[in-house]
């Protein structure tokens, strides 16, 4: 059953359209991640749902229209980008805040606070001042505070944005486990694709206030719906071509395309992993113009001698060619994707 339904939600700030007729549905117990570059309207979307931002269109929660329902009666949780913990209250006071607002008695409140602090991995931290917390701890307190009143929908604004990489990767796993254990319905926004793909059941990519693509992480990853989505996901090897009998003629030479591709003009991209470096003479002639060590592999920038945009290729650490070397390039059909 759909817990959240957005129907033609639009927000304008003066001349600028921040959200443009957004339709979105989130099912109960589902975790949806809205992914997009900064300025694409993600945070505004959350503010509209929370009732903090007036908007045109309809917001329904559990089937009920939320127009005219003030923020504090919507029963949603929102974890702010920079947490917004109340500086004058200790950790316990922050977590208990929503419970007090809902008239929960003292004994039950204390039990719930202890339970939540345990849940987010900060047992016994109730008396600590929020100013004494590290970034990761603040994160956990903010999460506990948002979860405490048992919101029907939990919204997270860049939940892991300010944390360092190692902590982020650990927390993503923890959060995913936590949400599936609690059965919480979650709507998160982030600009980090890794975070979105790791956290979400479904990913919604936004661009300039519109939804560019929605689908499971795998779908979006395998078949980006547009050049924008492809480039946003880091696929820069985009080129125009003409399909004839199983291959596309491009400035990079002949690129094999999946079987059944319609003949004629097209745009396609090749994932870096599908660009194979082969000895000179075999394949398309290129010159190595950059070489970046990525830990598990080396990323190469290849200038195709025949012209066209620089190709990005991934290759093994051992035997990676030096900058200036001449190489040949072949394409793996499994990593070639046609753009609609």
């Amino acid at each position: 059953m759909a817990l959240l339904e957005l129907d033609g939600v639009s927000v304008r700030f003066g001349e600028r359209t921040v959200l443009d007729a957004v339709d979105l549905t989130v099912a109960e117990h589902e975790t949806v991640c809205v992914l997009g570059p900064s300025g694409s309207g993600k945070s505004t979307l959350l503010r509209v749902i929370a009732g903090l931002q007036p908007a045109a269109g309809r917001v329904r929660l559990g089937g009920a229209d939320q127009g005219g329902v003030p923020v504090h009666r919507r029963g949603v949780g929102l974890m702010f980008q920079d947490h917004q913990l109340f500086p004058q209250r200790d950790v316990g006071g922050n977590v208990a805040f929503g419970l007090r607002m809902h008239g929960v008695g003292r004994a039950e409140r204390e039990a719930r606070v202890a339970e939540l602090l345990e849940l987010v991995g900060l047992p016994g931290a109730g008396r600590r001042a929020v100013s004494s917390l590290s970034g990761g701890e603040q994160q956990r307190v903010a999460l506990a505070r948002a979860l405490a009143p048992r919101p029907r929908l939990l919204m997270l604004d860049e939940p892991l944005g300010q944390l360092d990489r190692g902590l982020r990767e650990r927390l993503v796993v923890e959060l995913r486990g936590l949400f599936s254990a609690l059965g919480t319905t979650v709507l998160a926004v982030t600009h980090d694709q890794g975070e979105a793909f790791a956290l979400a059941d479904r990913v919604v990519v936004m661009r300039e206030g519109r939804i560019a693509q929605a689908g499971t992480p795998l779908e979006v990853w395998r078949r980006p719906a547009s050049e924008f989505v492809a480039r946003f996901l880091g696929f820069e090897n985009v080129v125009a071509g003409r399909v004839a009998s199983g291959t596309a003629e491009t400035v990079w030479g002949a690129v094999p395309v999946p079987a059944g591709t319609a003949e004629g003009e097209c745009r396609l991209f090749v994932r870096p992993g599908g660009v194979r470096v082969v000895p000179v003479g075999a394949g398309v002639a290129c010159e190595v113009v950059s070489r970046t060590f990525r830990g598990t592999h080396v990323s190469l920038g290849l200038r195709v001698l025949a012209g066209g945009p620089v190709l990005e290729a991934e290759c093994e650490l051992a035997g990676a060619p030096e900058v200036g070397a001449s190489v040949g390039v072949g394409f793996d059909p499994a990593d070639v994707v046609l753009l609609p």
């Binding site: 639009s10 929370a50 045109a56 309809r58 949780g77 109340f86 805040f97 405490a148």
Partner: protein, 565 residues
């Protein structure tokens, strides 16, 4: 369908805007009514009475009055003494601002409190203190036979004494928060030490210096108590002249013209001040002041610190010390005779219907009531002004500052002639005095509360709302705890200025219920050693009450405030 739903939501959005405006107007209603009834109406009535003679309205009087040589002299003196006082205050206080901002030395907190004491002192006390220092039979007179009370220097020095803290707090407060790394960046790029200061720090400080200078100019331009006591018959500011014309010569038309002139001048000063404040709000990189202060090292810095300490000692501590000393210096040697005489009903040669000591109780009672009124009115106004908005609200902001500069004498006299008939016959009501005192308290409450209220991150309120707090509850749970200290500080300031209010109170306080400043002025107005001694004793008591409330404030004041007062 979608379009219709959209329209509905749009009108809902517009509805919240209308509601917000309505809420703000509701908050402003009481402050507006208060200022309309107890400020605009009395002042307008006095001015109107001045022009509305038997021969009908005579606006032509303005030119006539301003053309009189004695009035022209008053205008000229008022302006140049204010300019001279401002320049002198800046020259003397700017090194102090630097020392307080950038140096770390033992006793800094205490010294900061000490230099602020004069600002909350009643003008009458400041006048008495300087009289005790440079007046007839004063310390300098006794030691070297030097008397300054017939010269303008006494007035200028008293003005510096009074406003030193304005510059130190306004300029020093900002200076302490300027990131020193900005100057360091300029140095690395090749600027000399002085060049870096001139090109980086000075432009950042400029608006603060201008704002402080304007405040000092405003206070000294409308100076009353100090000039009244130290100026003698030779020197009069506009405010003193308004008082003389109203209370002594009963020449209302002339007083009305002078009030108008002062009103216009003050309005102009406030408009310029508002403009500089707005410029000051432009983004600067501010840091925690605790990080910018350094230990003193090197002969140059030690000399600067020493110079500032000496200035404070001579200019601020000495007059206050002499005041206390005089209050105990009886003909029969040091003792508390003057204090004992204050309990005496016949004290002051029949000037009082009651023992002067009762003035303490009166003053405290009035000041407490005035503080309450100022907190309610000022608090509501500050709440309404929290959200930055259009020119209307900005105008309201400036309006709140007007009572600081408009002739208190006019307000006091206006009270007497306007609030004397039903439905508002307050002439015999004790509330009249607190109402007049609250007028000067409100600007301080607004000025103290506003920056703190504006600094409350709006998203904290949103966080509370999402967690289920209604708007009122969110205010109580989020804003109130954050502004509680500021509220107490505001209360303290309102209390101190109410306690010291003189210009309006002198008109409306009933003879059998004088306040401390009124009692001091009456005692000073009489000849005789005993009266003088009692005036010193009462001033000392008044100073004590003000200093104690200020020291409490200093404890409460949040570390990172850069308020104006």
């Amino acid at each position: 369908m979608t379009a219709r739903a959209g329209d509905g939501a749009q009108s809902r959005a517009a509805g919240t805007g209308v509601r917000a405006t309505a809420a703000r107007l509701a908050l402003m209603a009481l402050p507006l009514a208060f200022f309309g009834l107890f400020f605009a109406y009395p002042v307008a009535a006095i001015v109107g009475r001045g022009f509305d003679t038997d021969a009908g309205w005579e606006p032509g009087r303005i030119g006539e009055v301003l053309g009189r040589p004695d009035i022209a002299g008053v205008l000229w003196f008022t302006t140049w003494q204010a300019l001279a006082s401002t320049a002198l205050t800046l020259v003397i206080a700017l090194p102090g601002a630097y020392v307080f901002a950038r140096f770390d030395f033992p006793g800094k907190q205490l010294l900061r409190a000490v230099v602020t004491v004069p600002f909350v002192l009643p003008t009458v006390v400041v006048g008495s203190a300087f009289l005790a220092l440079v007046g007839r039979g004063g310390l300098l007179d006794e030691l070297w036979g030097v008397r300054l009370d017939t010269s303008v220097w006494a007035i200028l020095l008293a003005h510096v004494f009074f406003n030193y803290a304005v510059v130190v707090r306004t300029v020093g407060g900002l200076w302490a928060q300027l990131d020193p790394r900005q100057e360091e960046a300029a140095r690395v790029l090749g600027a000399s030490r002085f060049g870096a200061w001139r090109r980086v720090t000075l432009p950042a400080l400029g608006p603060a210096v201008a704002a402080a200078a304007l405040m000092v100019f405003l206070f000294t331009f409308s100076s009353f108590g100090v000039v009244q006591i130290l100026g003698g018959p030779a020197y009069a500011t506009l405010e003193v002249e308004v008082y003389r014309q109203t209370a002594q010569l009963l020449d209302l038309p002339t007083a009305a013209v002078l009030t108008m002139v002062q009103f216009a001048a003050v309005g102009l000063i406030l408009a310029v001040h508002a403009a500089t404040v707005r410029r000051r709000e432009t983004a600067l990189r501010l840091v925690d002041p605790a990080l910018t202060a350094r230990r003193v090292h090197g002969a140059g810095q030690r000399a600067l610190l020493g110079g500032v300490l000496l200035t404070v000692a001579v200019l601020i501590v000495l007059p206050l010390g002499v005041l206390v000393e005089r209050s105990f210096d009886t003909p029969a040697g040091y003792g508390a005779a003057y204090y004992r005489a204050l309990q005496d009903e016949g004290a002051g040669g029949g000037t009082f219907l009651v023992p002067p000591l009762e003035a303490i109780g009166n003053s405290l009672e009035y000041a407490l009531a005035a503080t309450g009124i100022a907190l309610v009115v000022g608090g509501l106004a500050a709440a309404a002004l929290t959200r930055r908005a259009g020119p209307l609200v900005r105008g309201f902001d400036a309006l709140l500052m007007l009572p600081l500069g408009v002739s208190a004498v006019t307000v006091g006299f206006g009270f007497l002639i306007t609030l004397d008939e039903p439905p508002l016959d307050l002439r015999t009501s004790w509330i009249l005095v607190p109402l007049a005192q609250a007028l000067v308290g409100v600007p301080f409450v607004v000025r103290t509360m506003l920056p703190v209220l504006r600094a409350v991150d709006g998203r904290l309120r949103e966080a509370a709302a999402v967690l289920g707090a209604s708007p009122l509850r969110a205010w109580r749970e989020v804003d109130l705890p954050l502004v509680r200290r500021a509220l107490l500080v505001a209360a303290g300031f309102a209390f101190a200025v109410s306690l010291g209010e003189f210009g309006a109170t002198v008109f409306i306080a009933r003879p059998d219920r004088p306040t401390l400043p009124v009692a001091v002025a009456r005692l000073l107005g009489r000849a005789g050693e005993l009266n003088y001694g009692q005036a010193m004793a009462l001033s000392t008591i008044l100073m004590g009450v003000c200093a104690v409330s200020l020291l409490v404030l200093e404890r409460l004041r949040p570390e990172r405030s850069s308020g104006e007062f």
